[in-house]
């Protein structure tokens, strides 16, 4: 197998895993799957591009500002589109349509504000997108950094769920009312998780920008691939999402190489459906037992 292809697959797969982790951070305490998550990632890339490329701020400052801006927007989303729906009925799925509506609003506002042209973003020094040869594959220092940062982030977030605050998040996911009785405020947790989920989305966007460019087109494509990684990995399972992200990245790369780039999405979609047909809760997920 072509090793260059593997490098591209793992880089893309890392980004998909990060998108999936953003979904999971939000999903765990709220049981809400944010349809605007792809657009939050896109917003992160656009803000990052604006601060870093257009305004010339240092990379870390630009990235931090982008994360703050997108986290604030995610919080606004939670306040106007999610909390009112969950207040009416915690089991209602009205948020599917309201978060989709928010996604349309974000995507079109960005389209009106920034225009359709993609913006190039340089990686932070000393990293570079220039490739060199390593074990027979062409790879750039930035690609290595993306892969390493992803693994570190996934392990870090998983470690957080082992702490006391992390367990509170999981308790709310399990039973909102019971958590309330133990002094956990689910509404505050839900706001916090949108804020953090927005921050992770923005970081994903900033990281993706040097590889994929910053453009409005990022939203829908990352929404679907991030979902594929989350679903195949098992919703809520970040380590699963990481492996699933690699799988999706590989399927894509192989489909592009064997068929044509136009068939990438179709191939990813077919593989995801096949996996869900055999294992409905993903490769590493488990069924939620409580129904009654």
């Amino acid at each position: 197998m072509d090793l260059d292809l593997l490098v591209g697959a793992l880089t893309a797969g890392s980004l998909y895993a990060l998108v999936a982790m953003g979904f999971n951070i939000l999903y765990r305490p709220t049981n809400v799957f944010n349809f605007a998550q792809g657009d939050l990632v896109m917003l992160g890339a656009m803000f990052g591009a604006t601060f870093i490329t257009l305004l010339g701020l240092p990379w870390f400052v630009g990235a931090a500002l982008a994360m703050l801006a997108v986290a604030a927007l995610a919080l606004v989303e939670e306040k106007i589109a999610v909390a009112p729906v969950l207040k009416n009925s915690a089991s209602s799925h009205g948020w599917v349509i309201t978060t989709l509506a928010v996604s349309m609003i974000f995507a079109n506002l960005v389209g009106l504000g920034w225009g359709p042209d993609p913006i190039a973003v340089r990686p932070p020094a000393p990293l570079s997108t220039d490739t060199f040869e390593l074990f027979g594959a062409n790879i750039s220092s930035y690609q290595i950094a993306v892969m390493v940062i992803t693994v570190v982030l996934v392990l870090g977030v998983e470690a957080f769920y082992g702490t006391r605050s992390g367990k509170a998040v999981l308790a709310v996911a399990e039973d909102r009312d019971a958590a309330l009785l133990r002094g956990i405020n689910p509404n505050r947790l839900s706001s916090w998780s949108f804020f953090l989920g927005g921050g992770v989305a923005a970081l994903t966007g900033v990281l993706a920008a040097p590889v994929l460019y910053a453009s409005t087109g990022l939203g829908p494509s990352l929404l679907l691939k991030g979902f594929a990684a989350a679903a195949v990995g098992g919703i809520g399972n970040n380590r699963g999402a990481l492996l699933a992200g690699y799988i999706i990245g590989l399927v894509e790369a192989v489909a592009a190489a064997l068929l044509s780039p136009g068939y990438q999405l179709a191939a990813t979609f077919a593989v995801m459906l096949a996996i869900l047909l055999v294992r409905p809760h993903g490769l590493f997920g488990r069924a939620e037992a409580r129904a009654v």
């Binding site: 799925h93 309201t98 979902f227 979609f269 459906l273 869900l276 009654v292």
Partner: protein, 605 residues
């Protein structure tokens, strides 16, 4: 004037007369105002209405958000276009193929999603729309790529080629048929089951509804309608290109349904009409269009979840109230006399060493109990002793970790809960699982779902045998509502009943399924003293029908009065079992249940 208005608005004949007049006007309209352009627009609108009616079945009633109906229309349109242009098929068989193709491709896509949570379906359909959109340009050998398919001929009938007038009439007729069929389908067991799947899947399962099957039925119907609309779309436009079917196209149908009124029969029609009445506004704001759609979707979902039709309904009800007319429809009259309910052959229940663990916690550790056919048995015990868990295992809602459960000697271990329900196990829940928007009668009728045999086609066409079956179920439901004492509230929305009466209605729903084994989970919780007496009489009456009753209850007096045998659970194990008198004088039971100072016997006497 008030009297005249009251007579007009109150008359049951006003609506059909108005609808007939409307249909007639639409059929005759082309003679008066028909220009080629207007007919083109009207036919296109009719095709869209067809898609929206189908989507409303799935989304409005079934609660499944599809973001891929535009892609299903594309499959229908391309199937007809390619069959007619590349393979010289005639329109009619090509249309049939289009419907089958849209339904089949859609079903393959939807199958994995329906086994999971609602939002999986929304995302998978969204992905499906993207994939189909991509393939339309990419798969050039089949679809002709960017150029699309041109020169699609007009349909013909017996050598006569349909004019734009004919196409309009065809599309209009299809709309009317679709609405009639949909109204019939929604009135049948399928409509109730779909609403149950949307509002209370647990109640649907307990009534014997197979969730995945019913969702799939709704999806296949709505996909076939999208395929049919695609066929109309193709011959009307005479050319189809990938640009006709962008990702926004699917969102557009969803907005149509939400704007008009999701879960309202006329919602999609009203939504489509409004969309076609404001096209000028939207062309002027072309670049703002999707932004406006997004804002509209958000505001509608938050402030008008039942859309324009929902708002009109609210206003209509207010008008009727002001005129002194009741908003509760009269109960249907059935030809079947309110005969007494038939006896039921009860089933014996045998639970052997059943174990259940949640994570590391053992909820049931080897519980056994036997209930003879036709008797009433109580399970009592402190909170957390595993009573409800045991009911959930018997009815199949929780998988079993060890042991055996036999109903009339047949093992039910591993059976899906809706199958156990169908085999004659009815149940109620600690908090009544009602469908609050449906009437009490419709809630009770949900219990008749497994007993009815009619298919979706027979129901949509309202065939005589389907109607006969529906009348029989109606008679049953009214009879059991009478049996539990709710006959006079049958037509009220179930959500407006007080808690105690919702419990009774839930029992009536279980009885309509004629259960051989009935599981009642704390039926007396929160009842007043008078209601409690009535409940005792009711359970005794149910026992007298022959049904085996297993009741989880804290109220020991009730248990002592109506049960032949009792099992006491503590911390997931059987503490004692026997007749109420034996069990309630058992020392350990007294200690566990009441503290050692008082006697359960006194409380129960």
């Amino acid at each position: 004037m008030g009297d005249a208005a009251r007579a007009l608005i109150g008359s049951p004949r006003t609506r059909p007369a108005l609808l007939f007049a409307l249909a007639l006007a639409l059929y005759l309209a082309p003679f008066a105002v028909g220009t080629e352009y207007r007919l083109f627009i009207a036919t296109q609108m009719a095709a869209y209405v067809l898609v929206a009616i189908g989507l409303n079945l799935l989304n409005g009633y079934g609660g499944q958000v599809s973001l891929g109906h535009g892609a299903l229309v594309a499959i229908g349109a391309y199937t007809v276009a390619l069959a007619m242009v590349d393979h010289q098929w005639s329109f009619w068989p090509a249309t049939l193929l289009a419907m089958v193709a849209a339904a089949a491709v859609g079903a393959v896509m939807a199958l994995p999603a329906f086994r999971l949570s609602t939002w999986y379906f929304a995302l998978i359909t969204l992905g499906f729309a993207e994939v189909v959109g991509g393939l339309l340009t990419e798969w050039r050998e089949l679809t002709h790529g960017f150029a699309g398919v041109v020169g699609i001929p007009k349909p013909g009938v017996l050598g006569h080629t349909l004019t734009s007038f004919d196409l309009y009439w065809l599309a209009l007729s299809l709309n009317i048929l679709a609405l009639l069929g949909m109204a019939n389908l929604l009135r049948s067991r399928f409509g109730r089951a779909l609403v149950a799947v949307r509002d209370n899947p647990v109640a649907a399962t307990a009534a014997g509804v197979a969730l995945v099957r019913i969702k799939m039925m709704a999806f296949v119907v709505s996909a076939a309608m999208a395929g049919l609309a695609g066929a109309l779309f193709a011959v009307q436009k005479t050319v189809v290109t990938p640009d006709d079917f962008t990702a926004d196209f699917s969102i557009f149908f969803l907005l149509m349904v939400v704007l008009g009124g999701a879960g309202r029969l006329w919602g999609p029609v009203v939504g489509a009409v409004v969309f076609f009445l404001v096209p000028e506004l939207l062309t002027a704001l072309q670049s703002w269009r999707m932004l406006i759609y997004g804002v509209a979707l958000l505001l509608l979902m938050l402030y008008a979840p039942h859309g324009l039709v929902g708002a009109i309904e609210t206003g209509w009800k207010r008008l009727r109230t002001r005129l002194g007319l009741s908003n509760i429809p009269p109960a249907p009259s059935t030809a079947i006399a309110r005969e007494t309910v038939h006896p039921i052959a009860g089933a014996a229940l045998s639970v052997r060493d059943v174990e259940k663990r949640f994570g590391g916690v053992s909820a049931l550790a080897g519980v056994s109990l036997d209930v003879a056919a036709g008797t009433t048995h109580a399970i009592v015990g402190p909170n957390g002793s595993g009573k409800t868990t045991l009911l959930n295992m018997i009815s199949g809602f929780y998988p079993i970790d060890g042991g055996a459960i036999l109903i009339d000697g047949r093992s039910v271990v591993g059976m899906a809960p809706h199958r156990i329900a169908r085999s004659g196990v009815g149940r109620t829940f600690q908090t009544p699982r009602m469908l609050p928007q449906l009437s009490v009668l419709d809630n009770a009728l949900l219990g008749a779902f497994p007993a009815e045999r009619q298919g979706a086609a027979a129901a949509a066409l309202s065939l005589p045998r389907a109607r006969r079956e529906q009348m029989a179920s109606l008679g049953d439901a009214l009879r059991y509502l009478d049996f539990v004492g709710l006959a006079d509230r049958a037509m009220e929305p179930a959500g407006e009943l007080p808690h105690g009466q919702q419990r009774l209605a839930e029992i009536a729903r279980a009885l309509v399924g004629r259960p051989r084994l009935l599981l009642l989970d704390e039926p007396a919780a929160g009842l007043s003293l008078a209601e409690l007496d009535r409940l005792g009489e009711l359970i005794a009456a149910i026992g007298a029908l022959g049904t085996t009753v297993v009741i989880v209850e804290h109220h020991l007096e009730l248990v002592a009065n109506i049960c032949r045998s009792v099992t006491v659970l503590e911390r997931g194990a059987v503490l004692a079992s026997g007749t109420p008198a034996e069990v309630f004088s058992h020392e350990e039971v007294i200690a566990a249940y009441m503290g050692s100072h008082s006697s359960v016997g006194q409380a129960a006497s």
